[in-house]
């Protein structure tokens, strides 16, 4: 009899034995997947710890680094992994651009705007826009400068687009790589309070290049003085953003190395802007605006002035 009982199936609760009819039986409720969004788009990240963020983010930097590492949990060969780098809204991108245009002394760009949510949207599209802005306005300015010459035939100079793209993208990606490697190396020797991840450095460099877009458009004006004033202004703004971002990362170090790092960063930035101005924009020559009877004396005068 016990054997027969063992062989019988035991019926668990179905609709017939509902809890109302059978209060003694235990029931399991299985609900459907709840619709909780993984992230809410309107909420800025890290809003809780915002009050503690200052120029030196003490342990927050370590914690945020850990959190940033935990956030990207998908393996790198899935699409979702790369989607985490584009997790920005329109207003966030505008805020970051505004932050790069108005460097406030004492406010760190990374701490204030990036807050462990570095994005690749800004760096990539700002660089793309800058490439085309430089190439197009260089072409336009050359056209306007050489407009009166009889021997000038307009060419679109399309080759310069690929050169500009190589220069800008190499600067925006290789210099952060070198800087990140350098900072990691110094971190291993000297315990720095603030350290940045590679993506945050790429982000700062990308957004700091934004000021060059209106600068490149204004470089069409064929006056040497105007162009150099524009270079100074742009360099001042973006250089100060970079300097104020990276000073906390090196100030614990040997004084000379810290200063050398900051000077190198600003120097490379200067090299980029002056190099672009020299290569893509022909030097404006004042003689072309003088009325000339024949072309020959005008050109010899221009050649002599050179």
């Amino acid at each position: 009899m016990a054997a027969v009982d063992d062989l019988q199936f035991e019926e668990f609760g179905d609709a017939a034995t509902s809890p109302a009819a059978n209060p003694g039986a235990t029931t399991i409720h299985i609900e459907g997947p709840s619709e909780s969004p993984t992230h809410q788009p309107g909420l800025p990240r890290g809003s809780g710890g915002e009050e503690d963020d200052e120029l030196l983010g003490n342990d927050d930097s370590d914690k945020t680094e850990l959190l940033a590492g935990q956030k990207k949990s998908s393996p790198f060969w899935t699409f979702e992994y790369y989607q985490t780098f584009f997790d920005v809204d329109t207003y966030q991108v505008f805020d970051r651009i505004k932050g790069s245009l108005l460097p406030i002394p004492g406010k760190n760009f990374v701490r204030l705007y990036i807050r462990s949510n570095p994005d690749l949207y800004g760096p990539f599209w700002i660089c793309a826009t800058l490439v085309f802005a430089i190439a197009i306005s260089g072409n336009l300015s050359n056209f306007l400068i050489h407009l009166g010459e009889k021997t000038y035939h307009y060419v679109p100079e399309f080759r310069k687009v690929s050169i500009a793209a190589t220069i800008i993208y190499a600067y925006a990606w290789l210099v952060p790589l070198a800087l990140w490697g350098f900072l990691m190396w110094r971190n291993s020797k000297v315990m720095n309070i603030v350290s940045y991840s590679f993506l945050e450095i790429v982000c700062v460099y990308g957004y700091s290049l934004f000021i060059y877009i209106p600068t490149a458009v204004l470089w069409v004006i064929p006056q040497k003085a105007v162009r150099w004033i524009l270079v100074m202004i742009a360099l001042g703004i973006s250089g100060s953003v970079l300097a104020m971002t990276f000073w906390p990362a090196v100030r614990e170090d040997n004084r000379r190395i810290a200063l050398a790092t900051i000077v190198t960063i600003v120097l490379l930035h200067t090299l980029l802007s002056v190099g672009c101005l020299a290569y893509f924009f022909d030097a404006p020559e004042m003689d072309h605006h003088l009325p000339a009877t024949t072309a020959a004396p005008n050109q010899t005068a221009a050649a002599a002035k050179n």
Binding site: P41, G42, Q83, F86, D89, Y121, W125, E157, F158
Partner: protein, 236 residues
């Protein structure tokens, strides 16, 4: 058979009548059919459909595809919010447009290799890699449009700019001068705006609402670069 075993599941309660007790009263007769064949009535129809497109004349196939492409051209020229471009996408139209544009834009081999207009391959690469980059950008931002649908829309919306190229080519046959340039500038600007409006009408709904501007800006840049290439085209 004895009483149903289900009734032994509830020991404590005393039910007047065990469950399924009436089952034992049913006798299964041999009249109820419990076996048979399952036939798929569609099979013959599917075979018929396959052979119909396989055996149709080449002219029918080409005309059908051309009509589909032409219908999409009409949708681009008169953009309303519709799903036609997205639902049945194809890449024939973008290919035709891109090849036409690149053929008209390439510089002749006579002039110097140093500086000049783009080559055929450069235009081709810009159009296709630009479209792929914009699509990837839109998908990474969280848009729910498929890869080829987006390529289809971006490719078809080059149609106004191709028309602008044709008009510019015709205008350039006349004498050069500032009037010539003004006419070309006006045509290119109008067609550029048309392209933007058309592609926004198709693409805007598939983006998340707080990132629309982020997804539309690269489209603007893309068509701006193509417009610049068209405007600065100078025949040798």
């Amino acid at each position: 058979m004895a009483k149903a075993a289900e009734s032994s599941g509830d020991p404590g309660t005393t039910t007047p009548r065990p469950l399924f007790a009436g089952l034992s009263d049913i006798s299964i007769s041999q009249d109820i059919p419990v076996e048979g064949e399952i036939t798929i009535p569609m099979r013959s129809q599917i075979q018929e459909f396959d052979s119909s497109t396989l055996n149709e004349s080449v002219q029918n196939t080409i005309m059908r595809d051309l009509k589909a492409v032409g219908k999409k051209f009409m949708h681009v020229l008169y953009p309303r919010k519709s799903n036609t471009l997205l639902r049945d996408w194809d890449l024939w139209g973008p290919l035709i447009l891109c090849v036409t544009l690149a053929l008209m834009l390439q510089r002749s081999s006579v002039d110097s290799e140093k500086d000049g207009g783009p080559q055929f391959a450069e235009v081709f690469v810009i159009v296709w890699f630009g479209a792929v980059t914009i699509t990837l950008n839109s998908k990474l931002l969280g848009g729910n449009i498929s890869f080829f649908q987006s390529l289809c829309v971006l490719g078809y919306c080059i149609l106004p700019l191709t028309v602008a190229m044709l008009v510019c080519r015709l205008v350039l046959l006349a004498e050069p001068g500032p009037v010539n340039f003004m006419v070309r500038l006006f045509v290119v600007i109008v067609m550029f705006a048309w392209s933007i409006v058309a592609s926004t009408a198709f693409l805007a709904d598939s983006q998340p609402p707080n990132r629309k501007a982020l997804a539309i800006y690269p489209v603007f840049l893309f068509y701006f670069v193509i417009s610049w290439m068209i405007l600065t085209f100078t025949p040798q």
